[in-house]
């Protein structure tokens, strides 16, 4: 091999010289210093700063913001509300799912229609299937003991290719990341205050607009309010919202077999605990179906996969996919108050028919 440079060639950049200068600095070590001594001094300096920062964070712990225990302020709020329930035994029905359920089903209306004692809505924002499963099993069902669970789902809950899936945020906040990396991280939590208090420290980077404030400030005098929040007309059918949701949430939609399995396992567990579970396919707006990569075909696939799997577990499924008009939606994915009320009444009728 020969070096085949034309001598008159354009010398690429000053960068080569810059790099040479940079390396030459490091090459000219001070004479007389042994390598071991340099390494020791480096390690001492590093250990000193690591310990000092760790101790400073530990010392400041009581003064740092309340930590996030879950991945979103609303979920933290729900957790605190569940813990503060004066009579948790009274909770006899749960509504679970994502914000589509939070803004599409009204616990109080359902309770009045079905004569339930204390139905609550514990839906979590962006709570895809693994998050909803974790949330139910790790938190909700350790606080309350309902007979009836209504689990509302839609296709995005099962999307394999969602950008920044909420299960990652949930695992990050809960320290539940599986596998070797998760184990290593949990080990770090044991020895490092910086790692253990990471979610507190990172509160500095979350804007108030996104995280909607600290859980304790959201909770008002009525501890039930977060669990029975009223339906609201929020959002609008703005093209930029459609574009953003399409890009971030529907992105390259594919129904995840893993998520379907997780849901099936959770349904089986709930049934084995003697609970009544009903799965609801939540209503969808026409644009929402269209933005799937293969449009209606993708949505039809999702419906058939979930319907078949739920049927195989002998769990009732109510399919409201196309039960409402586009006018019943506040935005691209969420119902408005009128739509939510219609759906809740329809659900109450169907649950009554099923014998609840």
């Amino acid at each position: 091999m020969s070096t085949c440079i034309n001598k008159s060639a354009f010398t690429p950049v000053d960068n080569a010289n810059i790099s040479a200068v940079e390396v030459s600095h490091s090459v000219s070590e001070k004479p007389g210093k042994s390598g071991l001594k340099i390494v020791l001094q480096f390690v001492i300096g590093m250990a000193l700063s690591l310990v000092a920062i760790d101790q400073a964070v530990a010392f400041a712990e009581p003064h740092i913001n309340e930590p996030r225990r879950f991945y979103h302020a609303r979920v933290d709020t729900l957790a605190v509300a569940l813990e503060d329930l004066p009579e948790p035994d009274k909770v006899d029905a749960l509504l679970v799912g994502t914000s589509v359920v939070e803004r599409g089903l009204d616990a109080k209306t359902l309770g009045a229609e079905l004569d339930l004692e204390l139905p609550v809505n514990v839906s979590t924002p962006g709570g895809q299937i693994p998050v909803a499963s974790q949330w139910l099993e790790q938190k909700v069902l350790t606080e309350v003991d309902p007979d009836l669970i209504v689990w509302g789902v839609t296709s995005i809950d099962f999307n394999e290719n969602r950008l920044e899936p909420t299960i990652d945020s949930s695992d990050e906040a809960r320290g539940t990341k599986p596998g070797f990396i998760g184990e290593a991280d949990r080990l770090l939590w044991e020895v490092s205050s910086v790692s253990r208090l990471r979610s507190r420290l990172q509160l500095f980077r979350f804007t108030d607009e996104l995280r909607t404030g600290e859980p304790t400030s959201i909770l008002n005098q009525n501890p039930l309010s977060p669990l029975q929040n009223s339906l609201a007309n929020r959002g609008e059918k703005n093209p930029s919202v459609v574009e953003r949701v399409t890009r971030e949430v529907v992105n390259d939609y594919e129904t995840s077999p893993n998520y379907v399995n997780i849901m099936a396992d959770t349904l089986s567990d709930l049934r084995s605990q003697g609970r009544n579970v009903v799965v609801v396919l939540m209503p969808v707006e026409s644009t929402y179906v269209e933005v799937h990569p293969n449009g209606a075909a993708d949505y039809a696939d999702f419906r058939s996969i979930v319907t078949e799997r739920v049927a195989s577990l002998d769990v009732p499924l109510l399919d409201y996919s196309f039960a409402l008009d586009d006018g019943d939606f506040a935005d691209f994915t969420h119902l408005n108050v009128e739509g939510g009320t219609k759906l809740t009444n329809r659900l109450a009728d169907d649950l009554a028919e099923l014998g609840f």
Partner: protein
């Protein structure tokens, strides 16, 4: 495989050990293998595109060197351009051109529906396409002789530290390093490599990723924020894109140094620039040089009169914008920079090439003005649509009350100050000699970087922004 993932560090250990354990004659082939594994980790199918580019340009350059007539050489260059730009056009710009044509025809009253294909964008396609094209150009211009060893040339095209997001290396700089006998890094070289990697990770994770949420909330709905809050969003994105890309480039250089290969500096503290011209000589240097040497000069540069100079400048910047992505937003971004550069030239300003001098206090107004122009110009780069760009610009120039949360403002200010401090040290590196500081100081700095990375990591590793280009 991304630099800020555990998988990469496992790969690096294996790559480093196997590279230095191999005899010299096998090293180019091993580098090709390692680079293909690195790239194939993301999507092995797209390796075929790299192989096509490699084989095509290797063969074309060899034939070109033996061609006797200028006409044949020109045809061969045209063939290389057709193959490389054809691949790039299909994978990156096909749908953009179809959509734009549809919109243009629709505005004339024709309802035409063209084919819409689901085309995945191969990571780093713009980077390696430009790198291999520069090789063919240089052989055509007889600046270099063609590489005879296919494996060495394949390593030049696919060298993994800079494959997916640059720097776009020149054949004159990289090929000789791949040809010569590599020297195992000394302790001093290893130390400088480690410093580059740690600094790069700090810039990426602590500066780049940490402000992402602040940027996202503002761009998602500009109308919900006051003017000052929107300006903080712009500052935050300026930090994000710089931390992300400069962090990547720093890691790439550090990793490459471990293999005995020096990559060029891609950044030279661009936010300390005193003018827009200086900014473009210090930001994404390898692309700026490429555009200057192969596009601006090929168009005639400043050799064909004043008006033609401005046309060439605008064309270069617009195409440079389009290089980043198939969207009118990138065209707008390039156009804004073209106008700013043309304006600066019109004022008769001149900037020396080479490393800029250390800024002085009297330079502060010019630095602040340049930073604000550059930061505002990032809006179309970050926005997802033309409409969102206009909404954001509207919010920046129309007063509306509403301040950012105090902790957001403080956080952005602290990160800006950190970045400026790092840049000032870097700008004064020949005087301050940071690599010769006492080992205890290096240890303390490393401890601070590790603690910061620990505090700001934990989730899934975030991809580098420039991977999408």
């Amino acid at each position: 495989m991304i630099f800020n993932s555990v998988a990469f560090f496992v790969f690096l250990v294996i790559a480093f050990s196997s590279y230095w354990a191999s005899p010299q004659k096998f090293r180019p082939s091993l580098l090709v293998l390692l680079s293909y594994v690195f790239y194939g980790w993301w999507n092995w199918r797209f390796l075929s595109l790299i192989i096509i580019s490699t084989l095509a340009d290797y063969t074309i350059a060899r034939v070109m060197a033996t061609s006797e007539t200028k006409q044949l050489k020109k045809r061969l260059l045209g063939l290389s351009l057709t193959i490389n730009l054809g691949i790039l056009a299909f994978f990156k710009y096909f749908n953009f051109f179809i959509d734009s044509a549809e919109s243009s025809l629709a505005s004339l009253g024709f309802d035409v529906s063209g084919p819409a294909l689901q085309i995945a964008l191969p990571v780093g396609i713009s980077f390696y396409t430009f790198q291999t094209l520069s090789y063919t150009f240089d052989v055509y211009r007889e600046r270099i002789q063609p590489e005879k060893n296919l494996m060495t040339f394949a390593a030049f095209v696919s060298y993994f530290p800079q494959l997916v997001a640059g720097p776009i290396e020149r054949a004159q700089a990289l090929l000789p390093q791949l040809q010569r006998k590599a020297v195992f890094p000394t302790a001093a070289v290893a130390k400088s490599a480690a410093a580059l990697i740690v600094t790069g990770l700090f810039k990426k994770i602590v500066i780049g990723d940490a402000v992402a949420t602040i940027v996202e909330t503002r761009f998602a709905d500009p109308s919900a924020h006051g003017t000052i809050s929107l300006w903080f969003g712009v500052y935050a994105f300026a930090l994000q894109i710089y931390g992300d890309f400069a962090g990547y480039s720093s890691i790439a250089r550090g990793v490459s140094r471990l293999f005995g290969i020096e990559l060029i500096r891609n950044f030279e503290q661009p936010y300390l620039s005193k003018s827009i011209t200086q900014f473009w000589r210090t930001w994404h240097i390898s692309l700026s040089n490429w555009l200057h040497d192969y596009l601006y000069v090929s168009l005639g540069g400043n050799r064909k009169g004043t008006s033609r100079t401005y046309i060439n400048l605008m064309a270069t910047m617009v195409l440079g914008g389009l290089w980043h992505g198939a969207s009118w937003n990138f065209v707008l971004w390039g156009t804004i920079h073209g106008v700013l550069l043309a304006g600066h030239r019109l004022l008769g300003a001149y900037e020396n090439r080479g490393m800029p001098s250390a800024p002085r206090l009297r330079d502060l107004p010019a630095i602040l003005l340049t930073f604000h122009l550059v930061a505002a110009a990032w809006v179309p780069f970050r926005a997802q649509s033309f409409g969102q760009t206009m909404d954001y610009f509207g919010g920046l120039v129309t007063w509306s009350s509403g301040l950012p949360a105090a902790r957001v403002a403080l956080f952005v200010a602290v990160l800006l100050a950190t970045m400026i401090t790092l840049d000032l040290i870097d700008r004064n590196r020949t005087k301050l000699k940071p690599l010769q500081w006492h080992p205890v100081v290096h240890g303390i700095a490393t401890g601070i970087a590790i603690s910061s990375v620990l505090a700001f990591s934990g989730g899934e590793p975030v991809e580098f922004i420039y991977f999408q280009f």
